[in-house]
Subunit: 121 residues, 2 copies
């Protein structure tokens, strides 16, 4: 995985892993307890944890024979930062050209002209 944002997104792309994070939001816990809600073998959970750890989303301690997992939210902050850049696109501000065009399109159903929208970079 090249960059750390990709690793984080990839880790979050699995519902089991997101459920694990949701559980850890309630507090640190063991692998066995994390595994319990899932119809899945322990090694499968272990692998999911490894993916989460690799992405920096959890850390693992050691306490006797348990390896308690803890949520680490720093990568989530990066995700929030990344996605926030796009906020304006879902908050429907009508001051951008794009939205202007979108509005035009909504009101004038059949634009005949081939508007040369291609720009040079």
């Amino acid at each position: 995985m090249p960059d750390h944002l990709s690793a984080t997104f990839a880790a979050l792309a699995d519902p089991t892993r997101r459920a694990i994070l949701a559980r850890l939001a309630l507090g640190e816990t063991s692998v066995t307890e994390l595994a319990e809600p899932f119809e899945m073998s322990m090694p499968a959970i272990s692998k999911h944890l490894k993916v989460l750890e690799h992405a920096g989303l959890i850390s693992r301690g050691r306490e006797a024979q348990w390896r308690p997992c803890r949520l680490e939210a720093a990568p989530l902050k990066d995700i929030a930062g990344w996605v926030d850049y796009y906020r304006r696109f879902w908050e429907e501000s009508f001051d951008r050209l794009d939205d202007y065009l979108r509005k035009l399109q909504a009101t004038a159903p059949k634009p005949q002209e081939k508007k040369n929208a291609r720009k040079h970079r």
Copy 2:
């Protein structure tokens, strides 16, 4: 892909696809122009676009022989909503048990324990 959040996260887990979205944030454009910055064949880009479209992150029109792509931000709003739940974990509020313990651990037991020097933003 089961749920739509997973599909969105998976789509965002690739740097090429994120770059495509970044380009589309500047405005609607053609597949060829989207492909240009990448050392990658057109079919490869076409597949990336299909992934993005499947996740609802872009929509495609038709204008003569071009299929202009447009950013669709609704799924990003869902991502923002999901990640926002975890905001308290990176904003270091010290009113939770977890953070209390974390603080104890940082100050008390072992002098050469790693300092846990996370910064506020």
